[in-house]
Amino acid sequence: MASKVDLEFAREVATSEEFNAWACMNCGVCTAVCPLGIALMPRKLFRHTVLGLKDEVLEQRDAIFQCLLCRLCQENCTADVHIAENVRFLRSYIDREVFGLDADPAERKDQYALAHR
């Protein structure tokens, strides 16, 4: 099946202040040191992300949420990619677009304030 670029997704990635995988040199150190040994994480996943291949990214939902955010990869990254922050960016996207979570507080009643009036 041919990969399909999702322009909305690509635009969100391109304009994000958090996502910074552009400097990745694909050296693979991150994968080598990952305690989970997830082969996809993070270089291939980030390549899919910067190319706007939304379906390929969403297929890796489990890997994205399995990341420990332990930052061992980031500590060893030779290109100073903020790997943990990039994973958080993708989680945030999935939370909103797939799980329907995390509406903007302005659009949501403050349930805590209501309960504690």
Binding site: F65, Q66, L68, R71, E75, D95, D102, A115
Partner: protein
């Protein structure tokens, strides 16, 4: 069937939005550790627990439950639990920690308070207003929810006139010191870990404890907050001989804890791998400085490597032997429903 990520993250978000914590505890449970310690309410400098140590026994109990559900047909029905949790505090009802576990984690908080008092540090405590800092919401990427919660924490600290907080665990330290300034305007509270405060105060041990201890660094302390040398200095000054695994300091290895609620089996496997690294030093006991690390590694070790929070080791050396800790009130059942203050 694996556990449904969306429903479990959703349950945490629902709890944080509605009850002020990803895992709501009653104010009585989260503050009972301080009973009888005479810590003043509020003040410019407060000991800020973020309820992390208090939450751990309940999280451990909940994870045990999730382990039984993972990879069974029951995982298909987790969404029903999330639905019911909107009306009653189901997550709280389901967790049944042992009294021993609750007391163990409460003692760690008492240890820290005792260490600071012994070092002459003046501090207060916010009691029911000592709110969870939102670390799990941040990790899960629910940023709008986190921001709304962080505003509540900021308003609470302002209400009490807090200028400086002393934190106990790496996650609360990281949230308040490094994350809040990026999501809140004008968050200018000074944040220090109690390990930094004690090291800076040049706390003097009352006795030397000549024991070998394997040290496990927290990823968050070591790689995000630069808390690496302070715990070593405190332990070594007390006479402990530190044994370091190869994966140590800023290259420390995760305990597996961060994914225990979503992927319990994988989390356990990582904990087992880390325990093997710690055992590889030849040490017979180990120390952690994060309650999540302690719970994960203790479970992974299964008794093969005794493990204690660093506050336990420090208390032995830095506090008077005669210092007795107050009894912790009897554990009660979880509050089923209704507004829960504090957490």
């Amino acid at each position: 069937m694996p556990l449904p990520t969306g429903d479990i993250v959703g349950l945490m978000v629902d709890n944080l939005n509605k009850r002020g914590s990803v895992f709501p505890l009653s104010a009585r449970k989260s503050t009972r550790w301080a009973k009888g310690l005479g810590i003043p309410r509020g003040g410019e400098t407060v000991l800020y627990t973020g309820a992390m140590y208090q939450l751990l026994p309940y999280i451990v109990s909940m994870v045990r439950l999730l382990e039984r559900v993972e990879d069974t047909f029951l995982a298909r029905y987790v969404f029903l639990g999330r639905f019911a949790n909107r009306f009653i505090n189901l997550s709280g009802l389901a967790a049944r920690p042992s009294r021993a576990d609750v007391e163990k984690y409460d003692r760690m908080l008492q240890n820290v308070a005792g260490l600071l008092q012994q070092a002459g540090v003046q501090f207060g405590y916010l009691y029911e207003d000592d709110l969870y800092a939102g670390a799990l919401a941040y990790d899960m990427g629910v940023d709008a929810t986190l921001q709304a919660h962080a505003r509540r924490v900021q308003a609470t600290l302002r209400k009490h006139g807090v200028r400086k907080v002393i934190t106990l665990d790496p996650h609360t330290t990281n949230m308040l010191r490094s994350v809040y300034p990026t999501v809140l305007e004008g968050f200018d509270v000074e944040v220090s870990s109690y390990l930094e405060v004690l090291a800076e105060a040049d706390a003097e041990p009352l006795r030397r404890v000549a024991e070998d201890v394997v040290i496990h660094d927290s990823c968050v302390y070591a790689r995000c907050e630069g808390v690496i040398d302070q715990p070593r200095r405190l332990l070594e000054r007390a006479g402990y001989l530190l044994l370091e695994p190869r994966e140590s300091r800023n290259l420390t290895y995760c305990c597996g804890g961060p994914i225990e609620a979503l992927f319990p089996k994988k989390s356990h496997d990582i904990g087992v791998a880390r325990v093997e690294q710690l055992k590889g030093t030849g040490g017979k006991q180990a120390t952690t400085m994060c309650p999540i690390c302690l719970a994960s590694l203790d479970k992974a070790a299964g008794g093969s490597l005794p493990m204690e929070d660093i506050s336990v080791y420090l208390r032995r050396a830095y506090c008077p032997v005669s210092a007795t800790l107050p009894d912790i009130p009897e554990s009660q059942e979880m509050v089923a429903a209704g507004p829960l203050r504090g957490l």
